[in-house]
Symmetry: C3
Subunit: 273 residues, 3 copies
C-alpha cells in the first residue's frame, strides 16, 4: 500500500519549497532529487510567498533559524495554507532555546501543518508548550521503546487531534499518527544517528510525499518515514570495513535514488495501532 | 585548443571570490580546488569589495539571495569591473520570483559580466526583462534540441551583443556565445540534473577559467562547460549498480580533480556556429 | 598519551556549539559525530548564549562572518567564559579583509579562548594586530618547515603567553603550543589542502577534544591535530585511481569515525619542544 505513495512522487515530480538550515541543506536537496521531487530553497521574506505559491509543498525546518528567516517561515506557511498546499514542520532543537521553542509554537499557532516531524523530545516540547531538549537529539530517557510504545502512540494521537497535523515522532521505533490511527515503524538503523541531517532529509522527503499525495497525509508521512528507514538499512548493508558515517551518508541518498514503490513495499516494516 | 585554458587554471591557481547560495557552496569550493583554483566565500557588504580586490575572479550566484547579500553582490560586481577582473553571474531561479528576476536584472544593469550562465528559462527571463521559470530547472518546452539549435544560437548571440557578456545556456545541448561566435557543446549526461548544484559548480569553474584566461572569455566559458560535461560523462562511467546521485556527485568532482588539458581536449565534443 | 584524550571524547559525548561558516558546516557536523561528539549550530544572537550554556564547548569560525552573526559570536564567547566552557577560535581568512582581521582581534580581546587554530598567515595577522593573508590559505613564504621550526615555535609560545590560549598553527608541520611547551606534529598529507574545510573540521574537533578534557587544553589540541592528520593519512591510503578530492573528503571523515585512542596513539607522529 505505501509503495504507491512513492510511485506518485516519481510520477508527479513535486517541486518542494524548503526553508531549512544551512547545515544539511545540500543533503535535503539531493534526497528530494533522489526520490523524484525537485527542491527550491528560498528564505527571504521578499520572495517566500511567491516561491511557496510556485511549489506543490513546503518544508520548514528551524535548525538554523534567525531573525531574518522567521518572518519568511511564517509568511510561507500562511501562503501554503491559503493555497491548500501541504506544509511540513521540522522543529529542530525545540526546547534547546527559548527562540526555537517560541518559534515552533508560533508556527503551529499560525500555520496549519499537514505533518510535524521531530524526535520525541522536540515533539514533547511542542505538546507541553515548553520543556527542555538535549540539543538536537532525543533525550535518552524519552526514547520510544516496545514498552512505552502504546503510551507514545496515545500521546501522538492526542497531539495530532490538538493540532490537526499528522505527528511523526522518529527514533528507534517511529510513530506516525493522526487523531485516529497510528503507524509504528520498525525500519531504520541506529547508525543513522551518526550522520547529520537524516531527520532533516526525512522532513524534506515527507513534504514531497505529502505534495504528491495531498489527500493522504497520514499515509504519505508513514511512507516517507518507512522509505528513509529502508534507505538506512540498505545503505548499511553496503558499508565496507573502512566506510564510516560520511560514506554512509552518501549510500543513504544513493539508496533513495534507487528505491521504488515495489521495493518500499517489500522492505517496509510496520504495524498500525 | 580548449585544453590550454584548463592548463592555465592549473598553472595560475586563480583565487575566486564566490557570493553564492548555501545549498551547493561546499561543492563549488571543492570543484574550484579540483580544477586548480582556490575558493573564498564572503557575502557581507563589510568586506565584499576588499575580497573581490584580493581575487582574480568573481562568481555571483543568486540561488539563496537575501536582503543582506544583494548589496554585497552589487558592490563586489562593481569592484570587479573597476579592477578589470572577470565576473560571472548565475541567475539561479530568475523568473521564479520577482526578487530573483529584479535582482538579476539590476546586476546585469549595474555590472558588466564576462559570462552569464544559466538554463534557457533563466536566460530568457533576463533577455525578456521578466517572464516565468519553473523553479530552478529549465522549462521542458524551452529545451534546446537539435531542431531548435540555430534559433537558440541566434538568441544567445543577440543577448550577448546586448549585454557584452558571453552567454552560456546549459541543458541537453549547451550553447556558449559572444556576439559573433557560438560553441554548441554536446558533452554532459542527463543524470547530472539529478545532482543539486552541477550548474552552480559550473558557474564557479567558469569564473576560475575566466580568471586564468582573462583575454579569452568565450573560450574560457566554452572550456569550462565542456569540462563540466566531460566530468559528468567520466563520472557516469564509474557508477556501480548501487551508486545513485550522491556517489555521482562525488565522482563528478573527483573527475574534475583528475582532468587535465589533454583529457579535456580528447573528450570535448562541440561545433562552432 | 594522546589516545586517552580521544577516548574521553568517545566516552563523554560532548555537545559542541558551532558558530561556523556555511561552506563547510556539514563536514564539521559529521566529523563531530564521527569522533563521538554531538554538534549543534546556532548563530542568532537571540539564542547564542542559551545554546552555549547547554553545550560543553564552543567553536567560533569566522569563515563567512556577517553583521548578524558577529554579535552572536561575541555573546557566545563571553557566555562560555562565564561558565568555564572551553572555546575555540578559527580566524579563517584573518588578514584577507579588515572585517575579518578586526573581528578576530575583537574576539580575542573580549573572549578568553582555550585554543586558537589557524594557518601561519592567519595567526601572524592576529599576533601583529593586522597584516595580510592570501585568501584562506597560508602564504607560501610563511610555511613552517624544518628550517623555520624553532623560530615558529618561539613565535607560537609567545603568542600563547600573550593570549592565554593554546595556539595551533597548522600546515606542512603543525605546531601546538601553550606558553611553555610545544608539540611539533608531522601527521597529515599535502592532499588535505585540496579538500575545502579540513581546517574547519579540525577546529570543530578541537572544541570536542577540549570539552571532553577541560583541564588539558594543550594536550587536547595536540591530540585533535594529530587525529586530523592521521585521518588524512589513512584516508589517502584508501584512494583508488579515480578517487579525487571529493572521495578523499569522505574518506577523511570515515577515518575519523573509526579512529580510537589506540590507533591515534599508534599513528601520532610528533616531538615536543
Amino acid at each position: 500500500m505505501l509503495g504507491e505513495l512513492l510511485d506518485n512522487v516519481r510520477r508527479r515530480h513535486p517541486l518542494v519549497h524548503n526553508i531549512t538550515n544551512y547545515v544539511t541543506v545540500n543533503d535535503c536537496a539531493n534526497i528530494l532529487l533522489a526520490c523524484g521531487a525537485s527542491p527550491i530553497m528560498a528564505d527571504d521574506l521578499g520572495e517566500a510567498e511567491e516561491i511557496t505559491a510556485l511549489c506543490a509543498g513546503l518544508n520548514i525546518n528551524i535548525g538554523t533559524l534567525n531573525a531574518r528567516t522567521i518572518p519568511a517561515m511564517l509568511a510561507a506557511g500562511k501562503k501554503a495554507n491559503q493555497l491548500g498546499h501541504p506544509a511540513v514542520l521540522d522543529p529542530v532543537g525545540a526546547g534547546a532555546s527559548k527562540l526555537r521553542t517560541d518559534t515552533a509554537l508560533r508556527l503551529i499557532d499560525q500555520v496549519r501543518f499537514s505533518v510535524i516531524r521531530g524526535n520525541i523530545s522536540e515533539i514533547k516540547t511542542l505538546a507541553l508548550g515548553g520543556g527542555s531538549t538535549q540539543g538536537v537529539d532525543a533525550s535518552v530517557g524519552d526514547a520510544v521503546t516496545e514498552g512505552s510504545l502504546e503510551e507514545a502512540v496515545r500521546f501522538a494521537k492526542g497531539f495530532a487531534q490538538k493540532t490537526g497535523a499528522v505527528i511523526a515522532i522518529t527514533g528507534a521505533i517511529d510513530i506516525v499518527a493522526d487523531g485516529e490511527r497510528a503507524f509504528c515503524i520498525f525500519n531504520g538503523h541506529p547508525m543513522m544517528s551518526g550522520v547529520t541531517g537524516t531527520g532533516c532529509q526525512l522532513s524534506a522527503m515527507t513534504a514531497a510525499y505529502a505534495a504528491a499525495n495531498p489527500d493522504r497525509p497520514l499515509e504519505a508521512a508513514a511512507a516517507a518515514v518507512c522509505a528513509m528507514g529502508v534507505c538506512g538499512q540498505l545503505a548499511h548493508q553496503r558499508l565496507s570495513e573502512l566506510d564510516g558515517n560520511a560514506s554512509y551518508r552518501n549510500y543513504i541518498i544513493d539508496a533513495a535514488y534507487h528505491l521504488d514503490g515495489a521495493a518500499l513495499e517489500r522492505h517496509a516494516s510496520y504495524k498500525t495501532l
